[in-house]
Symmetry: C2
Subunit: 625 residues, 2 copies
C-alpha cells in the first residue's frame, strides 16, 4: 500500500506540538458534590446565599440589648428578666425587649430585639432573673448574617481542583452538584496478534504472551486524569481490529495503540488513520520511541506507542500524560520529578534525545542516588526496577558519576525502595523481605549481586558459599540444602551426580550467575577428579548440562512438567512443587551490606528479619540458621 512518507524523524518538540494540536478538550459535566473530590471546576461559583443565613449566637449565653448592660461588672451586675430560650436549629419564639434576655445556645438565631449575646460564664441565675456581670457592646458574640460568606461573593474560580476544603466551602453555600471539566476518554486498542488478556488461558507453545501494555497504559491514563476504555483485540482478525479502531475513534477523545510486532497490524492502523483522519508524524528522534505515530483518527486524536512495556510507559509519560492532564485541567503533581546523583558514569552518543530508564536508591544520609536500569527495554521486570526516566539531550555524550539529574517518575506514587539488594534467588530471602517495608530485590544470582554491590548501587548483596566479597559487612547468614530435583517417587532411581553422567538422564542446570551453580560445579570438579577426567569430558556426558535456567525453581518446574528427569535445585523447591529430591549438600547463604549503607534503617531491619526469622527457616524444607 501507499504510505505517507516521513523522511526525517520529527523532533520531540514537534511531536509535542502535534499532540497539542489534536485538542483533546472534553467539555464539562455536572457531578454530585459528594463525589467531586479531585475534579476540576469548569466555571466560577459565586455564593448565592449568606453564610450564616441569620444573625447567629457564637457562644452559649443570653441574648440581650447591649444598652441594658452599660456599666455592669462583677460587683454590680445588670438584672434582666429571662423571657424564653432559643435553641440551635429552631426559630425564636420570643422577642427581647429592654430589661429582658433570652437563653440562647451556640449557633441559634438571635431573637428579635436582641443585639448582643453575653457568655453564660459571665452571668448568674437568680430565679427567673439573670445577673449579667459584664458590659457588652452591640454585636458582641454575634456572627452577623453573611459575615462568613456573603451572597454574590466569588467562592471558587474555574480551574480549581476540589480537595476536601473546597468541598467544605461548597457545602456551606448549599451547592450539591458542581460543573467540572469532563475527563478525557482514552481508548486503548491492543494490536498484537500474540497478546492474551490476563486471566485468560495462555498457549505458550503458540507464542502467546500476556498483554502487558493494555492494563499498564489504562491505569496510567487514569492516573493522569483520563477515563480509559479497553477495546478488545482479536488476535490476527484484522477486520475486527479495524472495527475496534473505528469504534474507539468514535467514542473517545484520544485513541492509543501500542506497537505491534505484526506488519499486517501496522498496515491496518495506517489505513484506518489515513482513511478516517490524518497522519501527522511517524517517527520521533527519541530513544526509545522512534516508531511513534501521531495523527487523527476520525474525530479523535491518535498516538501509537512503542510495543515494549517500559518504552510504552516512557513515551506515555513524556508525551501523552501531559496532554491528558491538560485536557482534564489538572496540574502536574509535584512528586512527579525528583533530583538525585548518578551512581556511576553512563555513556550515550546516538545523537538523539534519550529517555533513560533509571532506578532510585537512597544513600545512608537519605540522599537520592540514580542508576540506569540496564536491562533491554523488552524486559517486563525493568518496569518494576525502573522508577522513572532521565532525559539525556542529544548533545550529551555521558553523565558523570555524581552528576545531578532530574528524574521524571513513572507515577507520582512511585517511591524509591527503602532497601535495594541483588544476588542469589532464594525462597527464604523472598519471605524475609516481606517483613521489610518497600524493599527492591533483584534475583540476578550471587555473581551479579557481587558486581552490583561493587558498583555502588545496591545496599546489600546475597551470595552463596565462599563468594562473600571483601570489605562488606555481614548482615546475616543461613544454610540451605541443595541437590537434584527428580520426579515424585524418583522413578529413575537417581542417587546423585554420578547418575547424571552415567545414565541417560535429561538434566536442567542453573545459569552460571547462580551461586548454586558454583556450588554444583565444585561437586562436578570433584567427581571429574575422582574419575581422572577433565571437567568438560564429564559435563559433556550430562544431557542438558548446558541448558541453564535463571531462577531457583526453574529446573524443578522442568522436572515437574516432564521436560527433564533431574534438575539442579533446592530441597525447599522440591517440597513446594511436590517433586522428589536427592540431597547433595548444604550451602551457606550470606547477606552482606555495603559498609556505607549498613546503618540504613532498612538494612538493620533485614538483619533483624534474619535473626528473628526462625519461623521462615522452619517453614522451608532443608533450611536452618
Amino acid at each position: 500500500m501507499d504510505r505517507k512518507q516521513f523522511r526525517d524523524l520529527a523532533s520531540p518538540e514537534r511531536a509535542r506540538e502535534a499532540i497539542r494540536s489534536l485538542d483533546l478538550a472534553p467539555g464539562e459535566e455536572t457531578v454530585p458534590l459528594r463525589t467531586a473530590r479531585g475534579r476540576v471546576l469548569a466555571e466560577r461559583i459565586d455564593a448565592d446565599l449568606d453564610v450564616p443565613g441569620f444573625d447567629r449566637a457564637s457562644v452559649d449565653g443570653y441574648a440581650l440589648t447591649a444598652a441594658d448592660t452599660f456599666g455592669a461588672d462583677e460587683a454590680d451586675p445588670a438584672r434582666l428578666e429571662r423571657v424564653g430560650e432559643v435553641h440551635a436549629g429552631t426559630a425564636p419564639d420570643v422577642e427581647v425587649r429592654p430589661g429582658e434576655c433570652a437563653e440562647i445556645s451556640t449557633g441559634a438565631v438571635l431573637p428579635p430585639g436582641a443585639d448582643a449575646v453575653v457568655m453564660v460564664e459571665r452571668t448568674d441565675r437568680d430565679g427567673e432573673d439573670v445577673l449579667v456581670r459584664t458590659a457588652v457592646a452591640p454585636g458582641d458574640r454575634v456572627m452577623f448574617a453573611g459575615a462568613d460568606i456573603a451572597a454574590g461573593e466569588r467562592a471558587l474560580g474555574p480551574g480549581t481542583t476540589l480537595t476536601p476544603r473546597e468541598i467544605g466551602l461548597l457545602s456551606a453555600i448549599g451547592v450539591d452538584s458542581v460543573p467540572v471539566r469532563a475527563k478525557p476518554t482514552v481508548g486503548i486498542v491492543s494490536t498484537g496478534d500474540e497478546l492474551v488478556r490476563p486471566g485468560e488461558p495462555l498457549d505458550s507453545g503458540a507464542g502467546q504472551i500476556y498483554d502487558v501494555n493494555s492494563y499498564t497504559v489504562a491505569s496510567a491514563v487514569e492516573e493522569a486524569g483520563g477515563v480509559a476504555e479497553l477495546y478488545p483485540h482479536a488476535g490476527d482478525d484484522y477486520d475486527a481490529m479495524e472495527n475496534a479502531l473505528r469504534t474507539a475513534a468514535e467514542e473517545c477523545d484520544l485513541v492509543l495503540s501500542s506497537g505491534s510486532t505484526s506488519a499486517s497490524a501496522v498496515d491496518v492502523i495506517y489505513r484506518v488513520v489515513e482513511e478516517t483522519g490524518e497522519l501527522l508524524l511517524h517517527g520521533v528522534a527519541v530513544k526509545p520511541g522512534k516508531p511513534m505515530l501521531v495523527g487523527r483518527l476520525g474525530g479523535s486524536a491518535y498516538v501509537g506507542l512503542p510495543g515494549y512495556p517500559v518504552s510504552a510507559l516512557t513515551i506515555f509519560r513524556a508525551f501523552v500524560a501531559p496532554a491528558i492532564r491538560r485536557a482534564a485541567g489538572l496540574v502536574a503533581p509535584e512528586t512527579e520529578t525528583v533530583t538525585g546523583r548518578m551512581t556511576a558514569r553512563e555513556r550515550y552518543s546516538e545523537g538523539r534525545l534519550r529517555y533513560m530508564p533509571v532506578g532510585l536508591v537512597a544513600d545512608a544520609e537519605g540522599e537520592t542516588l540514580v542508576y540506569p536500569v540496564d536491562k533491554g527495554s523488552g524486559a517486563t521486570t525493568s518496569l518494576v526496577e525502573a522508577d522513572g526516566i532521565v532525559a539525556v539531550p542529544p548533545d550529551v555524550e555521558y553523565l558523570a558519576a555524581g552528576e545531578s539529574v532530574e528524574v521524571q517518575l513513572f507515577s507520582p506514587e512511585v517511591r524509591p525502595p527503602r532497601l535495594f539488594g541483588a544476588g542469589e534467588d532464594d525462597p527464604a530471602l523472598s519471605r524475609l523481605l516481606d517483613r521489610i517495608d518497600r524493599p527492591r530485590y533483584l534475583a540476578v544470582g550471587s555473581r551479579q549481586g557481587r558486581r552490583r554491590l561493587r558498583d555502588g548501587a545496591t545496599d546489600v548483596g546475597v551470595v552463596t558459599g565462599d563468594q562473600v566479597p571483601d570489605e562488606t559487612v555481614e548482615i546475616g547468614a543461613y544454610d540451605r540444602e541443595w541437590g537434584l530435583v527428580v520426579p515424585a517417587g524418583n522413578p529413575r532411581n537417581i542417587g546423585g551426580l554420578a547418575d547424571l553422567v552415567d545414565d541417560d538422564v535429561v538434566f536442567r542446570n542453573r545459569t552460571t550467575d547462580a551461586g548454586l551453580r558454583s556450588t554444583f560445579e565444585a561437586s562436578v570438579e570433584d567427581l571429574a577428579a575422582e574419575r581422572g577426567l577433565d571437567r568438560r569430558e564429564l559435563t559433556e556426558a550430562i544431557s542438558g548440562f548446558e541448558i541453564a535456567l535463571r531462577a531457583h525453581e526453574s529446573p524443578a518446574r522442568a522436572v515437574r512438567s516432564g521436560d527433564a528427569d533431574a534438575g539442579l535445585g533446592l530441597r525447599a523447591s522440591a517440597a513446594a512443587l511436590g517433586t522428589g529430591f536427592v540431597g547433595c549438600g548444604t550451602e551457606r547463604v550470606t547477606v552482606v551490606a555495603d559498609p556505607d549503607r549498613a546503618a540504613k534503617p532498612a538494612v538493620e531491619e533485614l538483619r533483624t528479619a534474619i535473626e528473628t526469622g526462625e519461623d521462615v527457616f522452619e517453614s522451608l524444607a532443608g533450611y536452618r540458621r
Copy 2:
C-alpha cells in the same frame, strides 16, 4: 447522667496512642487487576509462569542453527534453504534442520531445531534460499523462556502500592485479580440539630445551616484511603441519632462525629459510647480540638471531632488521617508537608500544642511564605484560605518573622495560590480572576486590602478612589458606577442621597472596610456641608445607615428581598439582580502590587487580564476602563 470524668486534658501523644490502640485493620479483599491502581498488596505474589513462556525471537529475521553460519560474512555468506515461516502468536509448523532456516517475526516462537536468529538486515533472499552475511552464536537474538521473569520468582511483596508499572508486571505473569488490603470503612454521623445537607432547602429563620463537615470529612477520609459512609442525621430526633451511631458502629471500622452545639446530642454520644464500648479520653491539650473524644463504639473505633470546619479538618489531619492510612497500608504522601518562612511574627502562649491554620504564598523567587489565617475557626471561608497547619509546641511563645516552619497541608493536592490578593469586592475583578490559574482573592474591602499588602503577605491589593497606597506598583485600573439600588421601577421615587435623609426610607449600607463606603461617605460629607449639618446629624436621619453589610451585592439583595427600600451598591449589581438603580457617580478601582512581587508571572497575567478585559467591562453595566 453520670459521665466518666477526665480531670486532665490528655497529651496529643496519648491521643495518638489511644487512636492507635483502637486498631482499624480491615483485613484484605481481592480486586480485579484492572481496577487495582492505588491499592496496596496484602500478600507477596510470586510468578507462577515463565515470561516469556517460550524461546522468543527478538528481531525479524531467520531462525537457524548457529553452527551453519560459522565463518559467514558479507563477502562469503552462508546459504540456507528457507523451509517455512513463523509468525508471532502462532505455533511453529516447521522444524529447522542443519542447512535450513525459517523466516521468523519478532516475538514468534523459535522453531524446533533452531538455536539462534539472524536479523533480516544481515541477509539477502536468493529464490528459496537465504544468504546469511554474518556469523551468529547460539542464543543470538533469542530471548529464552523465563529470561524476563522465571516461575517461582518473587514478583511483588506485601505492602506494595500498585502503580501502573506494578500492574504491568502482574499483567505479564497473567494475574488478573489481586489480594489487597481492604480499605477501612469510616462512618460519619452528623449530630447538629441545625444541620441541613447541601441540596436540601434551608430555613435560615429557624437557624438552619448547611452541613459542612459531613462532606468535608467524607472526602478527607477517601483521600486518606478509607471508604466513607454518611449516616443521615435527623435534626433533634435523638433516637434516630442513637440508632445511626449504633448502625455505624456495626458497619464500620471507625465512626466519626463532629462536635455538636447541642448538649442533648453530646449526651446521646456519651451514652452510646459508654453503653456499647468505652470512652478512652475526653479532651486533648491541643488548640483547636480540646473537646476531642476517643473511644470504642461497639466493635468500632470512635473519634469525636470539633464542630468548626477548620478545626474538624485540623484534628482529622493531625490525628485521624494517619490512622486511616496506616490501616489502609498506605504511606503518607510526600506532598503532605512543605516548608516555608513566616511572613510576620506570630505570638502564642496558651501552654498547649497549637495547630495554627496557615496560608501559603510564593515570593518573587518562588520561595514559600507562610502566614497565619486569622479568621475565627468558625468561619467556613478560612477553609479555603488555609492551606494547612503549623504545629506550635506548648513551650513556644512566638514564631518570628522569617522563621522557617513546616506546614502540614490539608491535602496532598493543595497547591499554594499563584496569585494572592485582597481588597475591594468587585464583580469585574471576580471575572478577571477567572483568567488566572490558581488565584486566591480575599474580598475584605479596600481598607483591609491596604493593610494586608503592607503586612507583606499579599501580592496585590485592590482599592477604590484615592486609597492607593504609596510605594506600590499600579497593575491596572478601571471605573465602576455606584449609587443607590432600589426596587425595580423605583416605587419610592428615590432620586439620590437627599431622599434617604428626607424620606422615611429603609436603607442598607456597606461596611467601613469597603472602598465603596468611603466614596459614599464623601457624598454624605458634601450633603452635610451643603445643609450646614455635621455628618452625624445627617446619618442619624437615614434609617439603617448603621446596618453595614459585607459584600458588594448584600444591600442590593436586601432591597430585592424587600428588607430595604434602598441600598448602597453598583449599577452592575442592580442589573444582575434585576432591581432599579439611581446613579450617584463613578469610582476608580485600582489594582496595585507589592513592588517585590510585581514581576511574579501571575501578577503579570492579572495586568494582561485587565488590559485585555474589554469583554468583561462591556458585559457589566456601569463599567469602563
